[in-house]
Amino acid sequence: MKLDVNMIFQIAGIAIIVSMIHTVLKQMGKEDFAHWVTLIGFIVILYMVATFINDLFQEIQRVFLFH
């Protein structure tokens, strides 16, 4: 369970930092860069969540006798 809480805080941290960078870049007038930063942050988190969901599905397949 410890790892899961750490992951949630990690995602929250990434989201807050990305949101700050987004705001700063927007203030500097570089909107396209801001959108790229958001997209890359989203992809990083999506990768983390996807590996985790893969774990879950493997576990369910193991437990419920799928072959």
């Binding site: 369970m1 929250a12 949101s19 879950l56």
Partner: protein
């Protein structure tokens, strides 16, 4: 007291997603998804011991393992479909959620058809000719 851990995890994730939702709704959705996965993963680990006991009982009772396997597969499909449907509904896509539920129901029906066939055959054999 593992329930305290789960409730704490859920509350923390809810608060964090509320904070982040104003800035970036997509990140909030991923946090909710991750929390759901974490809780379900924990529960799957717990339920596997129950299923081991069930398998042992079925072996002792000389029940055909195909039936137990089918029932366990049905339970697994129900859990996964329910999880996906809830997460999708939370993200505001009720149409996709209902399609996931429909897919779960139909796949369960497909798996249950051999058992239904066996039951009907047994009943027909019991009927007096």
């Amino acid at each position: 007291m593992e329930i305290i851990e789960i409730v704490g995890l859920g509350l923390i994730a809810t608060v964090i997603s509320l904070i982040i939702k104003d800035q970036k709704p997509q990140f909030a959705f991923l946090i909710i998804l991750l929390t759901g996965i974490a809780i379900l993963l924990f529960l799957v680990g717990k339920i596997s011991s129950v299923i081991l006991v069930l398998e042992k009982l079925a072996m002792q009772a000389n029940i055909d393992m195909v039936y137990l396997e089918t029932i366990l597969k049905i339970i697994g499909i129900a859990y996964i479909a329910e999880f996906g449907a809830q997460i999708t509904k939370d993200a505001g896509q009720a149409a996709i959620a209902s399609k996931i539920e429909l897919a779960g129901k139909i796949l369960i029906l497909v798996m249950a058809i051999p058992i239904i066939g066996v039951i009907i055959e047994t009943i027909i054999q019991l009927l007096p000719k």
